[in-house]
Amino acid sequence: MKIDRRSRDGVTILEPKGKITIGVGDVALRDAVLNCLQEGERSILMNLAAVTTIDSSGIGELVSAYTTVSNRGGKLKLLSLPPKVQDILQITQLITVFEVYDDEDEAVESY
């Protein structure tokens, strides 16, 4: 697991690559989001395009990240869900919680 980070028009875009799973990816994801918050970022866009596997812990981390960012007055949104991640968010009904975009421009403008 590796998480790239870049900024665009005041939005921090996080791009995890690989597996977001228990013991590895989940911790990295949490750290990345906490770092953003500590640096004062409040508009966070998580691009999931390069995520190959996500387990229930990974999904749990996404939810935690969402609530943590919201509690600090920010907004975590999702970009480019791979079909398997999309399915899982559907099944868990978390799709109703997250704001999801397919297009980065659109996502960035939405903040």
Binding site: I22, T53, D55, S56, K84
Partner: protein, 154 residues
Amino acid sequence: MAADNPRVHLVIGSEYENIELVQIVVEESLRKLDLDEEAAHAISLAVREAVANAIKHGNHQNPEKRVEIDFGVDAGEVVIEVSDQGVGFDPLQVGDPRMPGNLLRPDGRGIFFMHTFMDDINYSFKPEGGTVVTLRKRLASAPMASGPQKENER
């Protein structure tokens, strides 16, 4: 246990990194069964959850404690048993993670994943302590459990 094919059995210490090992054994074992990619991924994810629970809740990540994974095909079903050395729990106490009160919880989706991705999951508890979860998925080409089972001869 009745089995069409010899079973594969794997024992690991209770460390999350060993989930990858289980994963590749399951994936290699599934490869021979000619499942479609989606079914294989579903089984693989369900096993991941079962092993994660065994490591986390069953064995409390004590690397000395063992998680055992038993993999086989039985009467047209993939059957995987995951067991730990924990104290067990009451599956009836586990809530539905889609309930409004649970939706934003960071945990509580593992067993739900197993249910979703498999045809059947069953918990049992060993008298000496330890949880066994049995995961089943029918091979697409296999008849339903109630139908004629020509493979089920012993």
